[in-house]
Every structure is written in C-alpha cells, then in structure tokens.
C-alpha cells in the first residue's frame, strides 16, 4: 500500500500544491490537510510535510503561532513514534519554534533575520548545499560531500542558538545540509552563505533523524530544467533525460519514500 503523506496547510501557507506534487512524484500519496479538519485525523498518515509560506501572516514571529496549533501538536506526538516530518522554509520555522528540532522538548534554536552584506530583509536566489554525514532519513542515502543546487527565499533563515549549540549539532550529524561554495567547501561569506546561519547550516534534524527543518526549497527544484544555469554544476550539461528529468530537490523526497519502504 502506498504511504500517505499529509501536507499541512495552515492559513498563509502557499507552497502546498508543488509540495504535494513533489511527494506524488516520489511515488507516495500526498493529501493537502487544511487547518479546518480535526487534528486527530492526522494520525492516519505515515508522514508529514509542513510547506513554505507565511503561516498566520508571520504574526508575532515567523512560525510562532503555528507552532502552538493543535495540528502541530499531533505531528509532534507522531514524530515521537518515529514518523517522518519535513518542514520547508516556513515549515522549518514552525518546527524550530515548536522545539521538534533539534528535539529534546525545549526550544533550543531560532531562525533569526538574515544577516547579509549590505542588505536586509527578504532574499531569494539559488544557492548550493553540501550533504553531511547524518542519521537524517531524508538524506542518509546520499553520499556525503555531494553538492545540491537549491533555491532559497526567506527573510528569517539564520539558524542560531546558545553559544556552541550549532557546532555541537554539526558534530552530532544534526546539520545534514550546509551551505557551500562551487567547490563544495563550507560557505563562509555572503552570497554562498546567504543568511549568516551559524555553522552554515541550511537544515537541522533531530537526533533520531526523522524530523528535518530545511530552509531552501527542494520542491522548487524537482526537475533539471528548473535549475538556474548559473549554478548547475554537475547538474549542468545536455540535460540527460530532458528538462523534466529528476532535479536536485527530488532526492530529498526520494529519501522519504525510501525510508517509508524500508520501515
């Protein structure tokens, strides 16, 4: 039976359609689950994705109100049973504000306003991330060091925490994707490091690896033809399989599918 994945649509979320398509493309069944439904119905799903957007208009703080919603409470409970959870951009902000990443019960991180050279505010561009050794179920089948071009688009994407906390998460394999330069070296400055994230973290997972908060948008890089010419790298070339062949963002959804088949 095909695993069912709930794509949570809270008010203000605006990436649910392409996220559902990304899941379907990976061979899973996706269903957009709106906030008006009873939260308990979420328990019938085998995994969850919190897509991008501006849940609750980013009122109070990005992700802060959604993190207290009954839907996210159920997702938190189900994640403790090992079900996979992926939060993309605003979804990542929700997972951080809810304490699902890095996990452990408390809120240990923030996604702070971008810190950029001669710029403030919202920033959108294609960037590169490097796969790190990690127990993360979405990336663990990928070879460490592999570089993926992905689009990012956010104003608050700078992972930060208590002094030394992000470094400890990197050592523990809980930063499965880090911003990098064209040669695959960890990014140290803008624009390769687009938001000033500590330890150049583009994504953080929990210790078990089943919950991932990622700031770039893999669902916007499902096909090779969508990848910006300026950044294609290994994805450049004659577009084997044509422009609709699997793109760099698809590998994360394939990781989800592989995990659910193995589970």
């Amino acid at each position: 039976m095909t695993a069912r994945i709930a794509v949570l649509q809270l008010p203000g979320v605006n990436c649910e359609t392409e996220t559902a398509w990304a899941i379907e493309r990976a061979g899973l069944a996706a269903e957009v689950f709106r906030w008006t439904r009873p939260a308990r119905e979420l328990r019938d799903f085998q995994g969850y994705v919190l897509p991008g957007g501006f849940s609750y208009q980013d009122r109070v703080r990005a992700g802060a109100l959604a993190a207290k919603s009954p839907l996210v409470e159920v997702v938190a409970e189900e994640s403790e049973r090992g079900k996979p959870v992926l939060g993309i951009c605003n979804g990542a902000q929700v997972l951080v504000e809810a304490g699902l990443v890095p996990g452990g019960g408390g809120v240990e991180l923030a996604l702070a306003r971008n810190r950029m050279e001669r710029r403030t505010g919202y920033y959108a561009r294609w960037i590169r991330v490097r796969v790190e050794p990690s127990p993360c179920v979405f990336t663990h089948a990928l070879e460490p060091g592999r570089v993926l071009p992905l689009p990012m688009a956010h104003g608050e994407g700078r992972f930060t925490g208590a002094p030394g906390r992000m470094a400890a998460l990197v050592r523990a394999g809980q930063a499965p994707l880090r911003y990098c330069d064209a040669a695959g070296g960890v990014a140290t400055a803008f624009p390769d490091l687009p938001n000033g994230a500590e330890e150049s973290a583009a994504a953080v997972c929990n210790a078990r690896g089943n919950v991932l908060a990622i700031m770039p948008h893999p669902e916007r890089a499902l096909e090779r033809g969508t990848v910006a010419r300026s950044i294609r790298g290994a994805w450049h070339g004659p577009l084997r399989g044509g422009p609709t062949a699997s793109g760099p963002g698809a590998v994360l959804f394939a990781g989800l599918q592989r995990h659910l088949v193995e589970a």
Partner: protein, 183 residues
C-alpha cells in the same frame, strides 16, 4: 515638560487605529495553549521606536515622525511620543514587555532620513511593546514573564530568546536595550 525643551531620547509608541492582528492572534493562541495565557484579559501591541541623540524639542520630533514615511502611517496608525519617564504610558495599568531583535534593532534608513532632514546624527532603534492585563488575583509580572519568553510548546510566545531579547517590569528610558534585556 514644555514643547521648547530639547530632549536626548524620544520614544514613539505606534499602534494601529484598528485592532492589531498580531495582538488578537497572540491573545487567542496564548489563551488556548499556554498556562500563563489562561488568565489573560487583554493583550495589546505597539511598535516602539526610540530616537537617541536628537537636540530637537518634543513637538519638532513629533512633527518629523508624523511627516516621514519612515516611522508610521498617520492614516492608519497613531503615535504617542514620550520623552521622560514621567510622561504617561499610552495604556496605563498594563503589564509591559519590550521585545527586540538581538543586534537587529537599528533602523539605518530612518537614521539616514533624519540626518538628511534635520542635519542631526541620531540612533533609531525599533522594538515591539506588548501590554497585558490579567484576571484579578494574578501576579501580573510573573504571568508576563511566563507569557514572553519561549521555553517549549507550552511556555512562552512573544520572544524567542535565541534571536530576540526582552525586558519586563517597570523601567526607565530607554526601554530598548534596558537592564533585564540584552542587546
């Protein structure tokens, strides 16, 4: 204080003329999800701008704040200017908390505008002030602390301490970066 007296620090409390959506949502979520929220009777929010270093008087400062698009829109917001601790707060009797972004509270564009218009070099800082009223018998300062600082899904809402700083309780000017908070 007379309008002709120059000041070194001015506070602008800016609020929507309509209900503030952030405050309405925060009130509902706090009541539904947080222990400290159950006793909440009222929650209001202001944008707080502090302007340090001006030698202009209160009326001139208020005029520049009103006349520029850098600070507020008088068609949909109103502004109360305070220049001393004795000036009344916009809503007396509430428990207050001020929340600002760590190393991100400066308003560079507003500073440039002020220099261009007045010739003065000032610092402009921005934060949010939350004002809360609690049910009778509630220790308001304790409840406000619980409401502000996020610890986990059940505790805190208004300030994520890993990216923001906050201060609660009575204080003297300036409020942003005041003792009890951090910059």
């Amino acid at each position: 204080m007379t309008g002709a007296t120059t000041v070194s620090l001015a506070q602008a409390w800016i609020a929507l003329r309509a209900d503030d959506p952030d405050a309405v949502s925060a009130l509902l979520v706090a009541r539904a999800s947080l222990g400290a929220g159950r006793a909440l009777a009222e929650l209001r929010r202001w944008r707080l701008i502090e302007l340090a270093g001006s030698r202009l008087d209160r009326d001139a400062i208020a005029g520049h704040l009103h006349g520029s698009t850098q600070f507020y829109n008088p068609h949909k917001e109103h502004c109360v200017v305070r220049v001393t601790d004795a000036d009344p707060l916009p809503a007396p009797g509430l428990a207050y908390a001020v929340v600002w972004e760590r190393d991100g509270d400066r308003r560079a564009a507003a500073e440039r505008w002020w220099r261009h218009e007045t010739g003065e070099t000032v610092e402009v800082h921005e934060a949010h002030v939350w004002g809360a009223a609690f049910a009778p018998g509630t220790a308001a300062d304790v409840a406000m602390d619980e409401l502000v600082r996020v610890r986990d899904a059940r505790h805190g809402l208004l300030c994520n301490p890993w990216s923001q700083a906050s201060a609660t309780g009575p204080r003297q000017l300036p409020w942003i970066g005041a003792p009890g908070g951090e910059r």
